[in-house]
Structures are given as structure tokens and as C-alpha cells.
């Protein structure tokens, strides 16, 4: 049989449910039979109840929305702009939203590619006039002119006079050859 002093050392842990089963049982049996230790147990319970009641009554006065606004204000005021931007990106491009990004991108690319067949010459503009320049195998320049309205394509081959002057003694041909 444990003495009262030893039991009182354990009452707190017994109330907290932190004792092993045999010890818990011995404390319970002692409390049932000892008025003094039973009173000590009640005192501890009263203290806990009063503290919880007091704090709970206070906490219930705290409304969520004003509290949340205070938290938001701190976040807005004390987060650097680049972190706020990152937060926005994280919030906006969540995994579920990113899933839509792939088909949306494919659709956009296909739309751009097929635009040519629906709107001929959209890439060249309304007065569509495009030219491509390059140097062919014989060192001549090639100009490609396309006119959408008349649907005519002109290929223009000519030699670079400045280039000729640098490399050859002969005078360059001035007129382009069609």
C-alpha cells in the first residue's frame, strides 16, 4: 500500500493519463479510499477547470475576420515584393491549373499555324511584301519577292558589287539577272 505523499506525487500524472495501468489503478484505489488525497485531486481539477474556463471565455471574444485582417496586413507590409510575386505565382499556377496549361498551349500553337490558311498573308501584313535574301552556291544573292494581291512570286538573282570589287579585278555587273 503506497503512502499519501507518494500518491500525491502521482495525482497530476494520473489526471493526465500518463501513468501505466498498474500504477494508475493503485492511485485510483487510493483516491477512492483516502479523503485527504481525494481533496488534493479535486483541488487540482478545480485549478485546471478554472484556468481553462477563464482563457476560453477570453478566446471566444476574438472574432476571426478582424484577426485575419491583422495577419494579412502583416503579410502585406512585411513581405518583400519579390516574395509576394512568388506567392502570387504559386497561388495562381497550382498543379490543377498547370494541367490546363499544356492543352491550352498546344491549341494556341495550332491556332497560330492554321491562321495562314484562314487569313492568307497575315504574316506579311495587308500589303504583303516579303523578301528573303541569301547567297547561293555561286556566290550570288537571291531575293525572293512575293506579292499576295497578284499572287506573284519573283526570284531575283544578282551579284554583290561590293563583294566583287573586293575579290575581283573585273568590274561588277550592274544589272540583276532575272
Amino acid at each position: 500500500m503506497r503512502d499519501c505523499e507518494s500518491i500525491r506525487q502521482s495525482i497530476g500524472r494520473w489526471l493526465d493519463g500518463e501513468l501505466e495501468a498498474p500504477e494508475s489503478e493503485s492511485v485510483r484505489a487510493h483516491l477512492a479510499s483516502c479523503a485527504e488525497c481525494g481533496k488534493a485531486q479535486q483541488q487540482l481539477e478545480s485549478i485546471q477547470q478554472m484556468l481553462k474556463k477563464t482563457l476560453l471565455a477570453e478566446a471566444q471574444q476574438i472574432e476571426f475576420l478582424p484577426f485575419w485582417r491583422g495577419v494579412q496586413l502583416r503579410i502585406a507590409q512585411r513581405t518583400p515584393w519579390h516574395e509576394q510575386a512568388l506567392d502570387w505565382v504559386r497561388a495562381t499556377f497550382t498543379l490543377s491549373r498547370a494541367a490546363w496549361l499544356v492543352p491550352a498551349s498546344i491549341a494556341l500553337i495550332l491556332a497560330i499555324l492554321s491562321l495562314e490558311s484562314y487569313v492568307p498573308g497575315w504574316r506579311e501584313g495587308r500589303n504583303s511584301f516579303a523578301s528573303v535574301e541569301s547567297i547561293d552556291a555561286y556566290g550570288r544573292n537571291v531575293a525572293l519577292l512575293r506579292e499576295n494581291e497578284s499572287k506573284t512570286t519573283v526570284i531575283w538573282l544578282y551579284e554583290d558589287q561590293e563583294g566583287e570589287n573586293e575579290t575581283a579585278d573585273e568590274p561588277a555587273k550592274s544589272a540583276p539577272a532575272f
Binding site: E18, Q43, L51, K52, T54, L55, A57, V71
Partner: protein
Amino acid sequence: MASFQELVSRYHQKVYMVILGLLHNRDDALEVAQETFFRAYRKIGSFEGGSSFYTWIYRIAVNLAIDAQRRQKRNPLDFRETMDGVLEAQEETARDPFADVHDRELRENLIRAINELTPEHKAVIVLRTIEGLSYKDIGDILGCSEGTVMSRLHYARKKLQDKLSAFL
């Protein structure tokens, strides 16, 4: 942000209770509670799923509250005085007026007795009382062993019991 708001709505009162239990001043407690959630927002990336969210948030709250307590300049009696109004309003339908007087006396002395404890002893008693947390969880929050939690709790309860025995 919406999920964070949900977390705040779930825990703000409990976090506030813990901090108020340590600081005994409404304004300070409110400020520290909001700061707790701000820090949690900033550090949410470092939160490891290994521990529970409440253990993590209470750890931030207790650390901030203990720091604040060391810097606290305001009058802690502010808490006790305004507290009475709250409880009176709650107990309007109250029972025996003598019981009310007794309760008020007990409450005032309880707050005074708790305020005389060290921050570490206050923390264990408040965490255990409010959440009924296990010694292991309290140890995780305060960064100490279960044995330390047990001995601090025993000491704190003994102190409170000695000071309040006349009212119990």
C-alpha cells in the same frame, strides 16, 4: 492563401489562449498571436510533416510569447480587470451570488499565482490545460524531454495548489 486562412480560422483561438495564458494581457496576446501566424506563413516551407501542425504552431507561439514576456512593459493587471467583465456577462443567468464571489476570488488569485511562475512553468501548465497535450507533445513544443515536462508540471501544480488552497 485560402488554405492558410482555413488554418488560421481553425487555430487562432487556441493559439490566442496559449499566449494569453503566458502574457496575461489582451493587446499583447493579440499582437503575438497575429505575429505567430505571420511567422508560420513565412516559414510554412520549413514545416516538416513529421510533426503535427499544432505542435509546430504552438512552438512558434510559445517562443514568441516567452520573448514578449521578457520585454513586456504593459501592466499585466489589465488582463485581470477586463476579465471580470467578460465572465460576468457570461454568467448573467448565474447561480448563487456567493458562488460568483468565490469564483471571482479564485480566478483573481489563480491569475496572480500563474503570473508568479516562470515562463517555462507557465507554458507547461497552459499547454496541458488548454489542449490536454501529451507530455511528449509538450516536450516537442518546448524543446525538452518528457521527464522535464513532468517535473515542471508537478512543480507548477504544487505552487498553484499551495497558493490557492484557501480558495479551493
